[in-house]
Structures are given as structure tokens and as C-alpha cells.
């Protein structure tokens, strides 16, 4: 039982990271239809930026905040410089551009920081904390807390603010949004910025347990795709829930189903993608649009 609870909590911690990155993917996908394959490498770049600030003697939380602001700005710049000129061209071209961006950012981080893995000391100690006789890792609890806070903040932004209303309107119906005066181009840029910042959260939270190196987020990105598909590619809530479910599921499967172990985790995630696409293509939370005319 103790082990079971520990596995669930550590699954939720990984799941929080998958969920944050999946949310970033969904935010871009539902506004433009583009799957951003560079989301993982962008997150790694954010983690490297944070590492550099820490290396220069910053303490963690200011460095984290600065990283998120820089990531947001980076996302906006990428959208304005690379994505905007392709507006109106076939989606496939844009998607392939994001694959190019993946390779470019990977090359950039390797060039600047080298390929060797770096120790990234996170804000939470790795020592255990005792809750009701069960020892949990403080780091896991911390990552879960940060993920929850970030996701709630993003949720409030989307549902409670005027900017969020504009973001949703631009995603649902860009033509109509322009007619009521929403600057749809600016909304798309903000969307990319938000996604990049969310990726930054995922990258910085993942770095302490994964070792920081240029390919760090590549498998995480695959898990996040699985999470996004599981929850529904257009559902922000689904992305987060999908991430948490997947994190726990993979951890439990790896622990209790011996032939899966650590080696078949990724294969299990891909099986989830395949299963969802076959059985429920809209995902758990994606809805088939209801519309009367």
C-alpha cells in the first residue's frame, strides 16, 4: 500500500509535467490547428536559460520567473518571425517548419551549452517527507504544487479575463473575432508566448530529475502528445487531466506489470495514443461540436 501511494504521487509529479507541456501543445493547436513539434526543445531551452541564471548566482524563484518571462517573449518572437509569414499557407508546411525549429533549437542549445548532461538543482529537496506513515519525495510534492498553481492561473486567465475571452474568440472563430474588433494576430502571438512559458514550467520542473541536456524533453514531448490525445487535442482541461492520468498510469504499469518495467513505458504511451485514436478520436474531454442551424 505504501509503495502504491508513493507510485501514485510520483506519477502525479511526472503527470504534472506532461500536463503542462500538453497544455502548451493544445493552446497552439486549438487556435491554429498546428501541432508544435518544437514545444519540447523550446522547453529545454527555457530550462537551460534558468540553469544559466542559477549558475550566475540567482536564487531559484527569481530565476524561474525571469525564465518564464523570457520564454513568453521567445514564443511571441517565434510566432511573429517564423509562423506569421506562413499564415494562410497549408498547415503541413507550418507543422514541418516546427520540426525544423526542433532541430534548430536542439542545435542551438548543444552549441551554447554543450551536449554533456548538467546537474540542475531544483527548488525542492529530494529528501522524503513523512505523511501518515508514508514517505513521499518533497520534490514530487513540489512539482505537483507548481503544476497545479500554473494550470489554475492559466485557467483563470482564459475564463476570467478580457484577454482570455479574446484568446478563446480568436481560436473559435477568427473571422468573427476580427469583426468585433479583436486583433487576432496579436492573440495568436500571445498564445505562442503562453505556450512557450508553460513549456518553460515543464522544462524547469523536469530538469532536476532528468539531468539537463539538449535532448532532455524529447521523450517528455512524446508523453505529452499522448496526454493531449488522451484528453482531446482541443481541450485544455483534457490536456491536464490526460497528463496526470498518463503519469500515474505509466508509473503503476511500470511498477506492477513486470513485463512493462521501465523499458516499455514509452511503448505504453504510444499504445495509449493508438488506442484513443481508434476508440475515441475526440479524446476524453474533446467534444464533437453540438450545433443547431
Amino acid at each position: 500500500m505504501t509503495n502504491f501511494l508513493q507510485q501514485i504521487v510520483s506519477g502525479l509529479a511526472s503527470g504534472g509535467i506532461y500536463g503542462s507541456l500538453a497544455l502548451a501543445i493544445v493552446i497552439i493547436h486549438r487556435s491554429t490547428g498546428v501541432i508544435n513539434f518544437a514545444q519540447g526543445e523550446m522547453a529545454t531551452l527555457s530550462a537551460f536559460v534558468c540553469w544559466t541564471l542559477l549558475d550566475h548566482g540567482w536564487s531559484f524563484w527569481p530565476a524561474f520567473a525571469a525564465t518564464l518571462i523570457l520564454s513568453f517573449a521567445g514564443g511571441v518572437v517565434i510566432q511573429q518571425v517564423l509562423i506569421r509569414p506562413l499564415q494562410g499557407s497549408p498547415l503541413l508546411g507550418v507543422v514541418i517548419l516546427t520540426i525544423g525549429l526542433l532541430i534548430a533549437i536542439n542545435g542551438l542549445t548543444t552549441w551554447i551549452w554543450g551536449g554533456a548532461a548538467k546537474q540542475f538543482t531544483g527548488p525542492f529537496s529530494t529528501s522524503p517527507i513523512n505523511v501518515g506513515g508514508v514517505a513521499f519525495s518533497k520534490q514530487d510534492i513540489g512539482v505537483i504544487a507548481v503544476s497545479i498553481i500554473v494550470v489554475v492561473l492559466v485557467g483563470l486567465l482564459f475564463t476570467r479575463t478580457k484577454l482570455g475571452l479574446g484568446l478563446r474568440a480568436a481560436a473559435v472563430n477568427p473571422v468573427e473575432a476580427r469583426l468585433v474588433g479583436v486583433r487576432v494576430g496579436a492573440m495568436l502571438a500571445v498564445g505562442w508566448g503562453l505556450a512557450a512559458a508553460l513549456g518553460g514550467v515543464a522544462g524547469v520542473m523536469a530538469a532536476p530529475s532528468l539531468f539537463l541536456e539538449p535532448n532532455m524533453m524529447q521523450t517528455v514531448l512524446l508523453y505529452s502528445f499522448a496526454a493531449a490525445v488522451l484528453g482531446g487535442m482541443d481541450s485544455p482541461v483534457g490536456a491536464v487531466v490526460g497528463g496526470l492520468v498518463l503519469g500515474v498510469l505509466l508509473n503503476l504499469a511500470g511498477t506492477y506489470i513486470h513485463w512493462i518495467g521501465g523499458e516499455l513505458r514509452l511503448a505504453t504511451a504510444l499504445a495509449v495514443i493508438l488506442g484513443v485514436l481508434l476508440l475515441r478520436p475526440a479524446g476524453l474531454f474533446g467534444h464533437t461540436a453540438v450545433r443547431r442551424v
Partner: protein, 233 residues
């Protein structure tokens, strides 16, 4: 000085020319109907005004000649365009749709919301529902309510009666007349010419991308050729 003036406005979709030089003017406080057969360029005329299509020729609004127009800039200038097929935000709630109408305003005023709900009490009952689940008539009311939230100087409506039951159409046009009495200038494109000519003060008839006839709505109703072509009696 007219509120809106078009002189020799041309517009094309790729190779196809939709407007061959439209000239018309709309006075402040006017209620104008644009009539014409399918493909005459009625919808394109509205799209030209709200900046949804590129045009050549002159377009002046509030006395200023406007060159490069975008829909979002025209919305800021006080032009509300309700396109054909209502064009609401289907997955957003009724309330969010109305809030979006007030996007160019400083915040959503509760008074404006109350006024929309007073015009269309049904929308109040449905305020938390997704717009896409409303009936056609309710969606048209929502589209109109959203336009009211923007407090427009000029309201452009494309086929508001399309596919709606007569009772609903009447409610929509009653609302339009009330808005017009309160000072909103309205330009409406309508297939239902009888209805449009009854409500409007002035009217223009378009044929193959040109204005072929224009004047006081009552005069056009009496005009032999208009009656035969558009009123069917």
C-alpha cells in the same frame, strides 16, 4: 454630410470581380435596405464597408476617407457587421458572446447587458448556454444583441431573416426599428424585399455589382420594375 459614402467601389475575389463600381451614401440615422438578386454584390458591399475584402475606389466614414481598412479597425470606428448565418462563437456561452460584442468598449457595462436582455428576454434565460446550441432565431437575436453591445454608429446586417419563422423575423425587425429610433444607423441586406422596404427609409437596388436604382423606400415599393423584379406582384 453623409455618415457613410461609397464612390466607385470595386472589389474582386481573385479573378472574379464582384463589385463593378458601387456608389451610394448613407445618412446619419438612416435605415437603408440593399436589395438585389443572388450574386448582385449585396454581401460584398457589406464586406467592403467592414474591411473584409480589399477594394478600390473611395470609401468615407464620418467624413474621413479611409484607405486600408481592416475589420478590427472598422469595429473600433463603430461599425458592427453581423454576417449572414449569424456567425456567433458557437462553443462560447451566450454571455461570453455578448461580452465580445463590447470588446471595443471599456469593459462590459451591466447597463448595456440589461438593455440587450430587455430587447431579447430569451437570451437571458439562455445566458450560460453555448451559443451553438441555440435555435436559428435565438442565434440571430444573439448576433444582434452582440452588435448592440458595441454601441455601433453603423450596423451592417446580412440577411437577418434567412431561414427564420415569420414571428421571429418580426421580432428581429422590431428590434432593428427600435435601435434605429435610438440613433443607430442601419444598413440591411435582405432577400425579403417586401419586409426590407417596409422597415427601411431608403433603399438601393444592386445588379451585377452596380447600383441601378436608389431612393426613398416607399417610392421604390411603388416602382413598377422593382415590384415586378423583387416584390413579385
Amino acid at each position: 454630410m453623409p455618415l457613410l459614402e461609397l464612390r466607385d467601389v470595386e472589389a474582386r475575389y481573385g479573378e472574379v470581380k464582384a463589385l463593378h463600381g458601387v456608389t451610394l451614401s448613407v445618412d446619419d440615422g438612416d435605415f437603408v435596405a440593399i436589395l438585389g438578386a443572388n450574386g448582385a454584390g449585396k454581401t460584398t458591399t457589406l464586406r467592403a464597408i467592414s474591411g473584409m475584402v480589399k477594394t478600390t475606389g473611395q470609401l468615407s466614414f464620418e467624413g474621413a476617407r479611409l484607405f486600408r481598412r481592416t475589420p478590427e479597425a472598422m469595429a473600433r470606428r463603430g461599425v458592427a457587421h453581423v454576417p449572414e448565418g449569424r456567425g456567433t462563437f458557437a462553443t462560447l456561452s451566450v454571455l461570453d458572446n455578448l461580452r465580445l460584442g463590447a470588446w471595443t468598449q471599456r469593459g462590459t457595462s451591466q447597463r448595456d447587458l440589461a438593455r440587450v436582455f430587455e430587447f431579447f428576454p430569451l437570451l437571458y434565460q439562455r445566458r450560460e448556454q453555448q451559443a451553438g446550441t441555440l435555435s436559428g432565431g435565438e442565434q440571430q437575436m444573439l448576433a444582434l444583441g452582440r452588435a448592440m453591445m458595441a454601441k455601433p454608429r453603423l450596423l451592417l446586417l446580412d440577411e437577418p431573416s434567412l431561414g427564420l419563422a415569420p414571428l421571429v423575423v418580426r421580432e428581429i425587425f422590431d428590434a432593428l426599428l427600435r435601435m434605429n429610433e435610438n440613433g443607430t444607423t442601419i444598413v440591411v441586406v435582405e432577400q425579403n424585399a417586401t419586409l426590407a422596404l417596409k422597415a427601411a427609409k431608403h433603399a438601393f437596388v444592386l445588379e451585377t455589382g452596380r447600383v441601378v436604382l436608389g431612393g426613398v423606400a416607399a417610392d421604390l415599393r411603388a416602382d413598377e420594375s422593382v415590384r415586378r423584379s423583387y416584390l413579385g406582384y
